[in-house]
């Protein structure tokens, strides 16, 4: 029986025989740390390995994306700790100007089909969108990966998800993703790799694939893939989800799986909107929002925050006139990075504030004391014009 996608990738990086449930030692093509986690990795490294060199400096990176440029002394000092270590070790830093690490790794071709990448970002499994094994890990695991180029990993079972039917044209990759999350919850895909099949996912662009794969984390899954070939492997389970009646979806506070049709929550008043994140921070996400915002104004009193995923995305938004549209409608446009997702730079909410975001998590406290709803760039844009939650078609 042919192996599943994750089994194939792991097998090409280990001498151990790969099977679901087995713990294997695997080689890592890339290991990275962010400005979050990074300083602890440096501290651990110094304590455990002193001045010894990392296993391969050409495969080791820092990606600063959380609080960029630093907005407080502690953030600045933490980033400087990583820069000092990188200078001594000869490691490249994708610094505060570059944007979200996982996206930078894709753009730079460092994360590509069949490769293995780990880092301190819990959404690094986004790399499944380019058929790459990406995994977020804690500081000790990454310290060890810096020193050895290896990690231990329990080969997960694989869940097959068949997406049937064709989703209506007014729906987006985010609607599809939230709907799948609603169906799978945090149990069906828990601790499994997921392979998505069907026309509805195969036709997704890279940005759409990134949206779907990023939220496999919220499904409690290990990683998601969208294979080109037909399913021919042995799967632990399979689930079929019909998306032919899909409508715009939204996750209400305080859990990403708390998903409703936008129409069920319509007219909920909002104070702010956020477009960006590793889930919806690509050029086409902003282009979609811009189509709705063009020649309109964000409702008075509503704050719309826009954060491109990477510097390359920012350049494309400039070149295509999208930033002009967003600026003219009243949006606040920031430099690339994670923005408000990680209680970072742009977009903390105050007590009582209601935010609608294109991000991937809305846990209590995640973006401050306010309440956060999760939706597509289109729904966020429309809601910022109306000052309340609304479907674009109902504007």
């Amino acid at each position: 029986m042919p192996k599943t996608v994750i089994e194939k990738i792991i097998q090409s990086h280990t001498h151990d025989e790969v099977a679901p449930g087995k713990i294997v030692w695997m080689d890592l093509d890339i290991r990275s740390a962010r400005d979050f986690g990074g300083p602890n990795v440096v501290k651990n490294y110094g304590r455990e390995y002193g001045d010894e060199p990392v296993e391969d400096k050409t495969k080791t990176f820092f990606t600063f994306d959380l609080c960029v440029p630093a907005c407080s002394l502690k953030y600045a000092e933490n980033q400087q700790v990583c820069r000092d270590f990188s200078g001594k070790q000869g490691i490249k830093v994708f610094d505060v100007d570059q944007g979200i690490g996982s996206h930078v790794l894709i753009e730079e071709g460092l994360a590509s089909a069949g490769t293995t990448v780990v880092g301190t970002d819990s959404h690094l499994n986004i790399l499944g969108a380019v058929d790459c094994f990406g995994q977020g890990m804690g500081d000790v695991d990454i310290t060890f990966a810096f020193k050895t180029g290896k990690t231990w990993f329990e080969v997960p079972e694989t869940l097959r998800v068949d997406i049937t039917g064709k989703s209506p044209p007014e729906t987006t990759a985010k609607d599809l993703t939230l709907y799948i999350l609603k169906q799978l919850g945090t149990k069906k895909a828990a601790l499994k790799a997921v392979e998505f099949f069907g026309e509805g996912v195969r036709d997704l662009s890279l940005a759409g694939r990134i949206t779907l794969c990023s939220m496999v984390t919220e499904m409690a899954g290990i990683i998601g893939f969208i294979p080109e070939a037909m399913p021919d492997s042995e799967y632990a389970n399979s689930v079929s989800i019909d998306v032919s009646g899909l409508t715009p979806q939204i996750a209400a506070p305080s859990s990403p799986e708390n998903v409703f049709a936008v129409s069920e929550l319509k007219d909920t008043e909002i104070d702010s909107g956020f477009i960006g994140s590793c889930t919806n921070g690509r050029t086409e996400d902003f282009a979609a929002a811009a189509r709705i915002l063009k020649e309109h104004k964000v409702k008075e009193g509503v704050m719309l925050k826009v954060v491109p995923a990477t510097r390359r995305v920012y350049r494309e938004l400039l070149d295509q006139g999208i930033l002009e549209t967003l600026f003219s409608c009243g949006a606040i446009i920031s430099n690339p990075g994670c923005g408000g997702c990680a209680e970072g730079h742009i977009g903390l909410t105050g007590e009582g504030e209601v935010q609608i975001s294109t991000g991937n998590r809305n846990f209590a406290g995640k973006q401050g004391r306010g309440k956060t709803y999760l939706a597509s760039p289109e729904v966020v844009a429309a809601s910022c014009l109306a000052g309340r939650i609304i479907r674009p078609e109902d504007l």
């Binding site: 713990i23 979050f36 986690g37 300083p39 602890n40 501290k43 651990n44 455990e48 609080c67 407080s72 502690k74 953030y75 933490n78 301190t120 970002d121 819990s122 977020g136 890990m137 804690g138 500081d139 000790v140 695991d141 310290t143 060890f144 050895t148 231990w152 945090t186 149990k187 828990a190 601790l191 919220e218 409690a220 290990i222 859990s255 990680a342 209680e343 998590r361 846990f363 209590a364 406290g365 995640k366």
Partner: protein, 172 residues
């Protein structure tokens, strides 16, 4: 294994409520981290937890951000072990790497209550509570060895020293 008092919580306890993001940027010492354990879920926990207490929760414990402090703060708060119906993978690894035992046992979760004193026998795979004895599959040998060594890095170092010693013995 000594008895520990149960602190019981629900499903999907995420790392933001275990260790709030606002503290993650300060590289805190362990005692300081312990003061913020579970702050946004149960503000009483950090004040009242005693060494040897046991956190019990539903499915997907430790989901969300990869922050290692979520495991570290519980360990340094004196928590003996976390029992849950299931764990999010990153938290599970972090706990093992920090030497914090994690036990998967749905039956125990359904049958113990907050405040109850229970004990865990890791080798036998048994949890003793007021309502009975609940069994769980012990962790894989490889993970138990990491846990016994105090985490991943000490485990590999220990293995290396043993290997060199064996080599030395052979050469002698």
């Amino acid at each position: 294994m000594s008895k520990g008092k149960v602190w019981k919580y629900g499903d999907d306890v995420n790392t933001d409520v275990i260790f709030p993001g606002k503290y993650t940027y300060s590289v805190l010492d362990p005692a300081e981290m312990a003061k913020h354990a579970l702050e946004d879920l149960d503000p009483e926990f950090a004040h009242k937890v005693k060494p040897g207490d046991i956190v019990v929760a539903g499915k997907n414990f430790g989901c969300g951000s990869s922050r290692e402090q979520a495991a570290t703060c519980l360990k340094f708060a004196g928590v003996q072990a976390v029992i849950a119906k299931s764990f999010a993978r990153i938290f599970f690894r972090n706990a093992i790497n920090q030497g914090l035992p994690v036990v998967q046992c749905s039956e125990a979760v359904d049958n113990v209550e907050s405040g109850e004193k229970i004990s865990i026998d890791f080798a036998a795979g048994q949890i003793k509570g007021e309502k009975g004895i609940f069994t769980f599959a012990p962790l894989p040998e490889f993970i138990l060895r990491i846990l016994d060594s105090g985490g991943l890095i000490p485990y590999i170092k220990k293995k290396k020293i043993e290997r060199e010693k064996n080599l030395g013995d052979k050469n002698a």
